[in-house]
């Protein structure tokens, strides 16, 4: 679903990504792990076309994404949950969800209601708190809301930037379980994480990013067994 081929990217004069290739097929959960500053967020921003790659190309659903505006890509089903969740604090939980839905301009309101129901079923706490401002949710609830809001866009591929940020391990696990289920239901999921082992536990494939380069890749279970991952991670 997502293919990244030999992509290099820079912010200003600073090179961040160097010749990165990876693939996220439908129905698989792929994780990119790496320390702070390794270029994980830049990778997602490049795939979403917020940042134009200096070299290389990105394809989504078989089409090259170059020249497609980020919001158009998102409407076509390449959806990213950005770092820090980005819940709009003064809009209600329900309105936050509807921001995801309202981009499907042709959708009937009954269809949107169905999707809303589905998300409320996935995370019942959102139903309970649907009328409170998004900013008053706890960090874990906000992450659920961010995930649900992305799913309201009916994505074909979902990318998440450090969903664990500032969350307790139990909550992280429950969110990662949801991601696993989504991948099993046929979605392509790209998970960028700093909690390496937790991410590798649920992923199908993994890539280790270090200073903008892929230093290791392979089935997640193999990476999980390799102690070099841990070491490279902590350095």
């Amino acid at each position: 679903m997502i293919r990244v081929e030999n992509v290099s990217a820079a912010i200003g004069s600073v090179d961040i990504l160097n010749d990165i290739s990876l693939a996220v097929p439908s129905g698989r959960l792929v994780t990119v792990i790496g320390a702070n500053g390794a270029g994980k967020t830049t990778l997602l921003r490049t795939i979403s076309n917020v940042l134009r790659p200096k070299e290389g190309r990105v394809t989504f659903d078989g089409r090259e994404t170059g020249g497609i505006a980020p919001h158009v890509l998102a409407r076509q089903g390449l959806v990213q949950v950005p770092q820090g969740r980005q819940i709009i604090p003064n809009l209600s939980v329900r309105d936050n969800l509807l921001i995801g839905a309202n981009r499907r301009e042709t959708a009937a309101s009954s269809e949107i209601d169905e999707d809303l129901e589905a998300e409320f079923a996935r995370f019942p706490v959102l139903r309970e708190r649907q009328d409170v401002p998004g900013g008053s949710l706890s960090g874990g609830e906000q992450q659920m809301l961010a995930l649900s809001r992305a799913l309201m866009m009916r994505p074909k591929a979902l990318m998440l930037d450090e969903p664990s940020l500032g969350l307790a391990p139990q909550i992280v696990k429950s969110i990662l379980r949801s991601l696993r289920e989504l991948a099993d239901s046929g979605l392509a999921v790209l998970l960028v994480e700093q909690l390496a082992l937790l991410a590798l536990d649920i992923a199908d494939d993994g890539y280790v990013l270090q200073r903008g380069q892929v230093v290791m890749s392979g089935p997640a279970s193999e990476l999980r067994r390799s102690s070099t991952v841990v070491e490279s991670y902590l350095s």
């Binding site: 505006a69 919001h71 309105d95 866009m153």
Partner: protein
């Protein structure tokens, strides 16, 4: 009593005009942190346009529709000429360049209006009644029909704006852009489109204010600045972020001005302005939950 009621209605009517103009500043600032320093001049242009159309014998409804369309185009052009190019300049740009570019457009508009309609004061024909001074008797007091009509229309428009902001999908998109443009983009929001939209809405709100105010005051090409200043004052009462605060602030400002004008005919219009300036020092923008970025 007679005076009191008349002053109150006049004040609310002017307050409604200020509120409309300030709402335009508010919505543009909400989404982009920029606004049109020629907002009052856009209002002035609308007032002249509707006056000219009415005098030319165009039906009032058609005239209003034409003027609103014209202001849509002006809002779009403003974004294209005075706002968007600044993003391309990025760090080469002057600090607060948008203040100067939008003020520059305002100067050009003033001059164009002066060239077409001359520099002296003009009086627009009434929109809703037979003559400018038609009155209805309420509780034994004569109230201008135009003023009542202005209040009604202004409230309808403010209601429509609230519907747009709080109930429509576009309103949510505006809030998403206001919070974080890149995140909004990733959620499929056309950020550029939203920015154009808010400037068009701001312009239309100025247009509605202009259509309504024509019959109430004497028009001249330099009337806009006063309204820009007062609208800015009203918007700052609501911290540029609290739409309800702006509504209440606008009405209070209009009423306070009507009474202080009555009390001191020479400088009465300055007192509410001075009051707002003083309150700014005590109640800075931060009180209204302006977002602070984390310092790292």
């Amino acid at each position: 009593m007679t005076n009191f009621l008349q002053l109150l209605v006049s004040g609310v009517a002017m307050g409604a005009i200020y509120t409309l103009t300030a709402k335009g500043l508010f919505i543009a600032h909400l989404a982009t942190h920029r606004l049109n320093f020629g907002q009052g001049d856009f209002m002035m242009v609308a007032a002249f346009l509707v006056m000219a159309l009415l005098i030319a014998g165009v039906h009032a409804l058609l005239a209003v529709i034409l003027v609103v369309l014209a202001l849509c185009v002006m809002g779009y052009l403003l974004e294209r000429i005075a706002i968007r190019p600044l993003d391309a300049l990025a760090e080469r740009s002057t600090p607060y360049a948008w203040v100067l570019t939008t003020a520059g457009i305002a100067l050009i508009l003033q001059n164009l209006v002066e060239l077409v309609w001359g520099g002296s004061a003009q009086y627009a024909p009434p929109l809703f009644s037979q003559s400018r001074d038609s009155v209805v008797i309420v509780m034994g007091v004569g109230i201008f029909v135009e003023e009542i009509a202005i209040i009604v229309v202004a409230f309808l428009v403010v209601g429509a704006l609230y519907w747009f902001l709080f109930a429509s999908r576009w309103g949510k998109a505006v809030y998403a852009v206001a919070f974080n443009p890149e995140a909004a983009n990733l959620l499929g929001v056309d950020v550029r489109g939203v920015i154009v939209l808010v400037f068009v809405i701001a312009s239309v709100l100025a247009g509605v204010a202009g259509v309504l105010i024509g019959p109430l005051v004497s028009l001249h090409p330099h009337i806009g600045l006063v309204f820009t200043i007062k609208a800015l004052a009203v918007a700052s009462l609501g911290g540029f972020s609290n739409p309800v605060g702006i509504l209440i602030g606008g009405l209070l400002f209009g009423v306070a001005e009507a009474f202080s004008n009555y009390w001191d005919s020479a400088f009465g219009d300055l007192y509410p302005l001075l009051f707002v300036l003083a309150s700014l020092a005590i109640k800075p923008s931060g009180l209204f939950g302006e977002r602070h970025a984390d310092v790292r």
